[in-house]
Amino acid sequence: MGLLAREIEARGVTTVGLALVKEVAVAANAPRFLYLHWPFGHALGEPGNIAQQRTVLHDMFSMAVNAPRPGLVVDLPYRWRRETYAPVADWSMPSDSLLSALSLKPSALERVAI
C-alpha cells in the first residue's frame, strides 16, 4: 500500500494511508501514514461506531493538511475498545490527536531513514 501511495503522490495527488503494521509502514517510505494499534480488518475501528470512524477520517484529513515533511508514520493514541469518541467539533481544525503527535510528542513520530 505504501508503494501505491508513492506512485499516486508522484503523480501530483496528496495521499494519506492507514497502517496496522508499523514496521511495514516505515519501510514503505510513503509520504504520510497514520499507525493504529488495532486488529487486522479494523482500520476504521469497530462496526457501527460512526464517531470512531469519523475520528479516524478527521485524523487522516488533518495529516493531509498538516504533515510537515514526507515519510512520517504518526502513532494515533487510541486503545482498542477502551476509548470513547466525541463527535468531531470542527472539521476545519486539525485533530487534537494529530497535533499532539506532531508537536508535543516527538517520540510518536518515526523519522524514516532516506
Binding site: 503523480r11 492507514l18 514496521e23 514503505a28 480488518g41 472539521w91
Partner: protein, 193 residues
Amino acid sequence: MKLQKKTDDKETVNAGGKSPDRTPIGWLKEAWAHWISNTPRGTSLGHWASRTIALPQLKRLAAGQIPWTPLRKPLSDSTVVLISTGGVHLRSDRPFNMNSDSSFRVIPREVQPGDLPISHQAYDRTDALRDINLVFPLERLHELEAERVIGGLAQEHYGFGLMGSAKRLMPSIKEVARGISNAGVDLALLVPA
C-alpha cells in the same frame, strides 16, 4: 447512499438492506484468519508475516526520495478518492483470487454496501461484512461530502486483494495512480485490510 445509524443489533449494522457478501474461503482458512485477527498471538504472527513478506521487497522498491505533493486546495474544495486493500469489489465483478491477485477493481461512488463482497483470506472479515466502512469507509465519506467537509468524492474508487509480490503488483499500482491523477483527484485515502 443510505447512511448508517449506530446500533447494538449486530446483524443490522448495515442499514438499507443487504450486507456485503463473504466470499467463502473454507473453514480451515476461516479459522486461521479469525485467529490472526482476534488473538494476541495470532496478531503477532500476522505482523511477523507482514514484515517478513514486505520488508525485503520494500527495501528494493521503495528506495530513494519520498514523493511529496502538499494538498493544493482547502479540504472543502478537494476531491477525495478511496483505495482499499481489503479485498472489496463489486458483486458483478470477478472475485479476487484468494491466494494472490495482482489486479484491481473499480468501485463507483454510488455503490451500495450490499453490492460489495469481500474476497480476501488473510483477515477475519466478520466485522467488515457487518460494516464495510471498516475497510472501505465510502458511506462516511458520502456523509462528509453532504456536510461539505470535503469538496466531493471521485466518481471511481479502487479495491485491491491479497498479493504477496509487490513487483507483480506494480503495473496495477501504476495504472491506478495514472487513473486517479487523470481524474483530477486532490486527495487519496488508503485503507489496509
